[in-house]
Symmetry: C2
Amino acid sequence: MGSLGTRNRIVELADQLFYERGYEHTSFADIAARVGLSRGNFYHHFKAKDDILEAVIELRRQRTQAMLDGWATEAPNPVARIGRFIHMLVMNGTKIRQHGCPVGTLCTELAKLEHPALPHANQLFTLFREWLARQFTELGRGHQADTLAMHLLARSQGIATLAHAFDDEGFIHQEVELLLKWLHDTNTAPQTSQGG
Amino acid sequence: MGSLGTRNRIVELADQLFYERGYEHTSFADIAARVGLSRGNFYHHFKAKDDILEAVIELRRQRTQAMLDGWATEAPNPVARIGRFIHMLVMNGTKIRQHGCPVGTLCTELAKLEHPALPHANQLFTLFREWLARQFTELGRGHQADTLAMHLLARSQGIATLAHAFDDEGFIHQEVELLLKWLHDTNTAPQTSQGG
DNA sequence: GTCTATACCCAGATAGAC
DNA sequence: GTCTATCTGGGTATAGAC
């Protein structure tokens, strides 16, 4: 219990630091200081830095899955569920302005490092992609569900990147309105249109 | 001339390495090895790593400006000019798939590092933003030119991020088609619409 | 202008006492 | 399980010979 608690605390705080400062820029000393542990004691819980990264990604994966499951049960229909995804940009607006999208920034960094954990991190994107595609399929858009999912994912990524770079919250709201309009049009337009 | 040539070579190759591996992950040794210089000799040209970064950003700024100037003279009208911007995603598709957008990935990394060169790097975004806004203004969209510019910039960023993460070239082509359609619709739709 | 040698620091990682 | 002390490597940066 004590051990598990400490381990969980490490992963929790490493998760925050990796998001705020990036993976490479976060040192053991940084995490240890925030947890309140000595550096030496660290290796009792994790043999290597890569192991902490894997644990952090796994934590994010589980939380993302739980969030998507929650949306799937709370929201009454696919349009409302996709609306929850879009609304996430507003809900997390402050964090996004400060640190960008946690998924996008991590995957981009790991790709540049050619880090072996990259495929694991990309699963976070895939989780959203497949969940969104499932919603579009339920809307009768099965033949282009993945295309629509990728389109929405890309729009969200771009919004997060620019809101971060320009530290602009109003921009998020503008773009969220456009996305909701797109979602509506996509559902009422002829089935051959992909939106845009 | 010898000195200037070496300095330019350093900046040129540092530019490539920062794009491929990221700024923090690129060491002096990496650059020196690619240039064919000893580490010691490096400090004859640049006192600190930050100085190389500034020089790289300045190089990119000048090249971006020259590219935008070129588009402004080559393309006969604003729509064609904006089309050049969109087409950049296809032209640089291979690099984008491998390393992402050079502007977006640099700004995101420097933001996480809280690096003092971040405002300088953000100028690269601003260069595109203002150039695009000018094109929309010429199309009679002055009252929402900046909004449209930001929208297009965000779409491009998102496309680059996902093409990078999923290493997917077909996705770029799909999305470029949607962007061209959006550009067309934006020009024919009533002036109150912001596109989407 | 270019090199070798080296100082210096901080990171990841280990050993072993308590 | 936690600590201090320490090793090792790689990074930035400097000094000084050629």
